[in-house]
Amino acid sequence: MKARLKTRSIVAAVSAASVALIGFVAVPAQAAARSTVVVIESNTFTSINNLTPDTNIVINGDVAYLTGMGLFHYDDKLNIVNNPTLGSYRVSKNKTGDFEVTYTIAPGRVWSDGAPITAADLLLFHVLSSAAYNKAAGLGDPNSDTPVFNSGLYGAVYDQHVVGTPTLSADNMSITVKYDAAIPDYALNGLGLTVPVHALEELAAGKKSLGTAAENSAATAKFISDVNSKNTAALKLMGPVFTTGYNATTIDSSTNPLLLVNNGAYMIKSVDSNAITMVASPTYNSGPALSGINTVVIKQGIADGSPSAQAIANGDADVYQGQPTADAVAQLKAIKTATVTTTSSLAFEHIELRVASSGTDTYSGPFAMSGGQKAADLRKAFLLAYPRQDIVDKLLKPVNPGTVVLGSVINLPGNPQYEHTAALNGMAVFNAGTQSSRTAAALKLVQKWYPSAGKTTPVAINLLWGSPGNTRRTSEAALIIAAEAAVGFKVTAPATKGWGGKLTNTGYDAHFFIFDQTANPQDAQACGIFQSTGGSNYTGINDPAIDKACVALQSKTLPSSTVTRLRVQIEQAAAKDAFFLGIFQNPEVTAFNSQLANVVAAPLSPSLFWNFWTWHF
């Protein structure tokens, strides 16, 4: 008996010891806090320079943000936050017809090769934005020819209002830009840091290694004189470097180091087909200090949905942002080690009807302005019956429970003016009562012209909406077809590859798709959509009231009450003619390793990276 007890206790002791041992082995030695973070992106890196139209994609922008510090950035509340560490800008003269902004670089700021950052580096922006300068310098007209510096910045507010070439101060640390009017959003539309000009000069000269301090300052001086003297030959050498020289799909130790010179917190260490690796830059002093993340890896080309969710679950990546399906969101939320947030971005889905009130638009379908009252009634009926609430409830709320039916697209929810705008802009008609009451009202309008409507579907509508791979829109289309059939519209809405090219096709009566806002200027980028000459005007609307409001919004800085009034006016016009209706804000799902602190999604690009320097484990 005693012996057995003894055996038992030995067994117990041994098993306890082994359990303890297992426990010891099982818990990995708690290393110091991780200093690396892995982010997944669905598209792929193509260039260090994201300012050309060919390279202006999200992932290039993110890398540029991580490796370059600017004079300001947007925060998650859409406020512009200045970066006094790098420099400052102020309105130095404000008279009618003479509006000047002066930029000053703080002393001692350096590029990653040790060369000082000067206001000359801001001067490059003028070359990249002013068509007048390009013409004067013998580089051709960037608005019609292929620009020598293919920047995609020409033709905008800066280009329209800048006067002459900006002037540098004697110490080269300040630069003053002169405009012919008090342009709105002078911060957004004004100068910014792009690529270091000394490196650009050296690259143009064919150099393959970093310059010495003397060479660098000589290169900067040469750049200033090249620009000021409009040295066509020198500029023509630099243009191609800017346009395609920075393009790279692989970067390693053999890459010309001049291409990698930047002033950001991180430097690109390597790029391969798999990922972009960035490491903390030792010379960085252009902005807030990092909080503990020394290496950032962006894994590129990772598909949205399950692949991303499983990568987060497996710890292959720490941060993910995308527009997954409701199921993928549920999958993400089930991951114990990850935090998931859903926010709304500044991209919004909308329905627009072709009205073709401009002379060039030849659309003549049931919604055309030329159809008079009948077309107006049909448009109104179509929008009234449009199942916006259903779409939001069934398709959006499972992803982002905070999604609402948009009362305004010009002041999106979250904007302090949203409630005010939504109440006044006339869009409330399309949201009043219940869907069934709106459908009944719509039916009445259609029956005015087609008495049999409701029992039959006499009005044929071709609806364009997007690629077959887009699951959410596929579902939207199904809801719309059903809802519109109830009021007499026979909606044909097949998915179409290459839908973008068909937006101007007169065979379609209506489109729904996403408009993606890239900044938050005074006109809220709405004029592109509503102005008769707007770059994103696919409805063919030509409304003098809208055009007038847009001109006012784009020509000078206005008091905020006036801005709101003009914005409301634009939407009132759209509501009156019933050709445009916002549906919902695109949800943005962010999932990240719960141990990683300070990851906060922001509505504008670079979204979650906006405060990367505060990230830490």
Partner: protein, 351 residues
């Protein structure tokens, strides 16, 4: 380790000629094939399964051919938008399937046997419509590929020479056109023409392997004695091709066509995954599983039911092809059993 050691006891009592002739005595070629096919258990089961499935699928939502139509026995159409079922589902997962197969708890389809999608559409009707489309795609691709592939292969193999060279270069040409590009092009220009339109073109691009196979078969068969005999007897080329060679190559053809068909259903799902296949509002099984690929852990029914149907269809078509292959193989006996093998050896040693 005993894989090869089959030298078991000799059974002297079985005479060799019995084994070879008993089975096929006094039967025509077709009867032999049928007999063999019916003995292939896998193929028979698959045939029954596939036949019942097709009947079930096509009767669910009804069909209309040349004006003669049948309304279908199922209460929902794919365009109906009933409210999401909440009774019996957990709160987070409305629209769960109502199919109940547990004997004790009652056996029944319920209101939405396969559940509902995000919009509330009845998933059973979606899956059935998807299965219809997928089966149609499969048949169209199979038929088109078979028609083109057999014709080209037969002509090339029979006539050889210049005709062969030209036809085989056409074959090479077809190989160089990426199917995925075709998917995109058809989707862009003819997105609204329906999936059968795409299936037709996919069939046109899918005959490469088959025609090479048929050509090879013809090249060998045309040298055989019975073809010479027919030619001497004054048979026309057409007669030789259709009456003498083709029947002998039919085994290879059928197997290859069944493989193309089961491949077609997967090709369609791959194209749909890439957004280049079936276009909404039409559905197919491939489109459904690719749309709901993320539902795997959250709302599995949206993924499993169409997936299950793809598997059942592809599996049964493959098994039928397998059975046909075995049945058409002229040398194939039903079973090479150990007994036969030993008997064979016994005969050989006797001689």
């Amino acid at each position: 380790m005993t894989m090869f050691s089959r030298r078991s006891k000799l059974s002297e009592e079985v005479s060799g000629s019995d084994i070879f002739n008993k089975e096929t005595e006094g039967l025509s070629q077709g009867q032999i094939v049928l007999k063999r096919f019916f003995r292939h258990r896998g193929a028979m089961v698959s045939l029954i399964v596939l036949f019942s499935l097709v009947t079930f699928v096509f009767s669910t939502l009804g069909f209309k051919i040349l004006g003669i139509g049948y309304g279908g026995w199922w209460k929902y159409k794919i365009t109906d938008l009933p409210a999401l079922r909440t009774a019996g589902c957990s709160i987070e997962l409305p629209g769960c399937p109502s199919l109940s197969l547990i004997p004790g708890k009652g056996f029944g389809l319920g209101d939405h046997p396969f559940g509902q999608d995000d919009l509330g559409r009845d998933y059973f009707s979606l899956v059935m419509r998807g299965a219809e489309r997928s089966i149609e795609v499969m048949v169209v691709i199979g038929l088109v590929a078979a028609a083109v592939g057999i014709t080209i292969g037969a002509l090339a193999g029979f006539y050889r020479g210049l005709i062969d060279a030209i036809l085989m270069r056409i074959n090479d040409f077809i190989i160089t056109i990426p199917i995925i590009v075709l998917g995109g092009v058809v989707s862009f220009h003819f997105g609204n023409k329906g999936i059968l339109f795409l299936a037709f073109f996919l069939g046109v691009l899918s005959w490469g392997g088959l025609s090479r196979l048929v050509r090879g078969e013809f090249l060998t068969l045309r040298e055989r004695e019975f073809v010479d005999a027919a030619r001497v007897a004054g048979a026309s080329n057409r007669r030789i091709i259709f009456k003498h060679i083709l029947p002998n190559a039919i085994g290879v053809i059928i197997v290859s066509v069944t493989l193309i068909m089961s491949g077609a259903i997967l090709l369609e799902s791959a194209l749909s995954y890439l957004g280049l296949g079936v276009v909404a509002p039409d559905v197919s099984l491939g489109l459904l599983i690719s749309q709901y690929q993320d539902s795997f852990t959250t709302r599995p029914w949206l993924f499993w039911y169409p997936g299950l149907l793809i598997i059942i269809i592809a599996l049964s078509v493959n098994f039928i092809g397998d059975g046909l292959r075995d049945a058409f193989d002229p040398r194939q006996r039903r079973r090479i059993s150990r007994k036969d093998r030993s008997a064979e050896r016994a005969i050989a040693t006797k001689k």
